[in-house]
Symmetry: C2
Subunit: 289 residues, 2 copies
């Protein structure tokens, strides 16, 4: 097993899924399929699969959940990019959904992806497996108004304002952190992890999510648009408070390093072999996109 | 039991639910709460509760599902009303969500309601009850890109075009019909109905949904804005093909009557006492809003 393989497996599952759907009715799935196939690091599904693999060997069995999580992430990007939200034209080096299909269809594509994720998870739950129901419930909760959406609302309402460090942390813990934690905890839940492991992994997810977001803000300042596939300095243009405006670049880099070290420490405390989770943690720190 | 009581029970459940949520964080739930509390006929949850009551006496036990369904319906209205969609300022006699909270928050309020519905249903499923999982799965499917969203996509893509009768029926069967059928079938599923009853009730839902939409189109032409709580002639202004432009007013009225009679026939074929379902079927035909 390696991380690239997991990424390919998720992308293949998603491609097969939408391929079958589009054969029946191409119109209903075209815009949804566009944004999910346009690429991405697939961090969330990979984290779910790697965490699951601490406990079980058959990661293929949870590909529907991993893919559903990526659909939820993608729906949030489509809606975030809309003119009334961040108004972004470029995502992953390609035109954003509404630039191709128009705003109305883009809104529906986002709605459709969120729905489809729930359909996929609920269909998996039809066998009555309680761990699957728990994993689905925690993913739904992390995506909702007390999770990712809370962060998005905070983001919208903070636009053009200077916000406090507490508010900035709240925003990112919800907007990015919750779905990353859910990726890890759902993988562990599906793998039947102990309560003790679940609480260690929750801390791991929290720190990883924060490091991830700080790194994103760093890349928004120092990143290369050709590698990133999206416009840089977008936060500055939108007058947003970011970790850079809050702490400065040097302190952000130090924080990112520290959080990564703390992640390693937590992983070392687990009984299972966490080599792959360490590898992706390091990748997330060093990435240039 | 009467229909008004069921409506009150659903509204109370929703009000309590958002009341508790808003105590913790008013900001995250304010816009969601606004649109769901602004009123409405609550047809879908009432249909679910009445169908469930053909089989079981404890309708209170499925209020979470009934309320979740109403949240899904409300999310679809918020998104439908957006400037890039139908661009409506008025809904149920009150300003639409985006007129009060702005487009970005309105999009998130819709997203939040869909998510919340899934959270509520999945939390109910944590007891492992297979009928609950089946009901949740069928509601999710009916809301998704092969259900309600398929109808919305069709609606968007048909704007300003003359469409065929087949296309018009496809649009409404999905946009309105699927969630009405899901209301009925999820109620029956939660009540542990037989396969035979499920297939009769599916036909009932299909005819009821179609009658409901034809009646909506009739009211858009002959309705009173003060009673309807939304602008009339909106379809005409949007150059939409409707049942009125397709069949004319007289034929629409006749069709609506015929479908209602067919609904009664199906209900009479069931063993249970269907008085209340007949009552709501008749109300939907005769309503002025």
């Amino acid at each position: 097993m390696n991380i690239k393989l997991l990424k390919d497996e998720v992308e293949q599952w998603i491609s097969d899924y939408f391929g079958d759907k589009q054969e029946v009715n191409i119109r209903n799935f075209e815009a949804m399929s566009y944004s999910i196939k346009v690429g991405g690091k697939r961090i969330r599904p990979i984290l779910m699969l790697l965490t699951y693999s601490l406990y079980k060997e058959d990661f293929e069995s949870i590909l529907p959940f991993a893919s559903a999580l990526e659909m939820i992430h993608t729906y949030s990007l489509i809606h975030d990019d809309l003119p009334s939200m961040d108004n972004d034209d470029l995502r992953r080096g390609k035109p954003t959904n509404h630039k191709i299909y128009g705003e109305a269809i883009a809104i529906l594509a986002g709605d459709g992806l969120l729905n489809e994720a729930m359909i996929i998870m609920l269909n998996e739950c039809l066998d009555g497996n309680l761990n699957k129901i728990k994993a689905s419930a925690l993913i739904a909760k992390a995506s909702g108004a007390e999770g990712m959406i809370a962060g998005q609302i905070c983001d919208i309402l903070s636009e053009g304002k200077v916000i406090s460090e507490e508010e900035l942390l709240y925003m990112h813990r919800n907007k990015t952190g919750q779905l990353i934690i859910a990726a890890i905890l759902s993988g562990a839940t599906l793998g039947n992890a102990s309560e003790e492991d679940l609480s260690a992994l929750k801390m791991f997810g929290d720190k990883l999510g924060l490091a991830f977001q700080i790194k994103d803000d760093i890349l928004d300042v120092v990143g290369d648009v050709a590698i990133l596939g999206k416009n840089v300095k977008s936060d500055e243009c939108n007058n947003k408070t970011t970790f850079i405006t809050m702490y400065g670049l040097a302190k952000c880099k130090a924080k990112c390093n520290d959080l990564t070290q703390e992640c390693f420490q937590i992983l070392k405390g687990l009984k299972a072999n966490t080599n792959y989770l360490e590898e992706i943690t390091e990748f997330l720190l060093k990435r240039e996109y």
